[in-house]
């Protein structure tokens, strides 16, 4: 079956919408849980201390969620949101390969590599 540009556009559009919807739902669930857990005690955002290490990586966030930390569930939603455009680029690599469009497979792989390096904390 031929993968036309129109079909590719439709899949990308649906992928983006699904990603944003899922991320927003997880963040909302985390917010509600967060309020139910304590609801008082305001963090101080005037002074920058940086997030604790468990909130800085996907592995740490997943561990935090499994231990029942609501802040980690919100962070998981935000990670899903960040992953949405990355998934779109990964899909494009496959789609251009299916179209046998070598130039764009290379272009898309370069972008995917840059994203991976940034997310892996290599920068």
């Amino acid at each position: 079956m031929q993968l036309t540009d129109e079909k590719m556009d439709r899949i990308i559009g649906n992928l983006l919408r699904a990603g944003v919807t899922l991320a927003a739902a997880v963040v909302l669930a985390g917010e509600i849980w967060h309020m139910a857990q304590w609801g008082s005690g305001l963090p101080n955002y005037r002074v920058f201390r940086g997030e604790p290490s468990d909130l800085r990586s996907a592995a740490g966030v997943l561990r935090g969620v499994s231990q029942g930390h609501s802040a980690d569930l919100i962070q998981l939603g935000l990670l899903l949101l960040i992953a949405t455009p990355v998934a779109r680029v990964a899909f494009s690599v496959w789609a251009f390969a299916a179209q046998r469009d070598r130039a764009y497979v290379v272009i898309t792989l370069i972008v995917l590599t840059a994203l991976a390096l940034s997310l892996a904390g290599a920068v």
């Binding site: 556009d9 559009g13 919408r17 944003v20 005690g41 002074v47 997030e51 990586s57 455009p85 779109r88």
Partner: protein, 278 residues
Amino acid sequence: MNSLEFTALIWAIAAVAGFLGALTGLGGGVILTPALTLLFGIDIRYAIGASLVSVIATSSGAASAYVREGYSNVRIGMFLEIATTFGAIFGAFLASRIPTSSLAVIFGLVLLYSAYLSSRKEPDGPEAAASDPLARGLRMDASYPTPEGPRPYHVQRVKTGFSLMLGAGALSGLLGIGSGALKVIAMDQAMRIPFKVSTTTSNFMIGVTAAASAGVYLNRGYIDPGLAGPVMLGVLFGSLIGARTLAGANTRVLRIVFGLVVAAMAVEMIASGLRGRI
């Protein structure tokens, strides 16, 4: 103020920012960071982290519709994303190296320029009759839907556009904004891509650009769930309502008022930065 009240307040301000951003085409990010830093005294690094996340949400949400309708040019977007992602990583790296007061001043200057841009009418450069050989090689020429049927277009000055996109990416990573205005200028003015295709392709690219710097922000601890969560939900909600309202609204007066508010915020950001209060 307890955490519930704080969350509700942040959510409401983010919703207003998203609403106005969608209505004026300026995006929610540019007014969110000044609002968070100037009104709440939130450290600018937490503010740009939260703002960047919301940028991914609104741009991906809007892009999903434009791509399916056939306005965005996926090939042009993918190619230029090489420039914006590397630019964004460089910008985000720079953000953690320079003093916050300098960040505030640069933010103010970019804000002033955005206010100026939004006050102008939508310029559509003259259509290109022929293509850059590079654009032909990369199969960038396409067509977009109009009421009279699909309309073909050509793409010029790919290298100039690519260089401008490096700058747009760097600003996005440095300040946690989408820098859609600069992306549109690169495509519409330099590459002579039709305005509608430029704006929608810019929207398509913003998510990937922002994701590139979001990785750096995340690893540096700029993204706080208690702040970025309500900001993201608020901006997304506001921009959805804004996009609905846009269909029938006369936005001329609103654009002027919004332009003045943005300009005032810009001056305040610059002044606070120079006095070392941010």
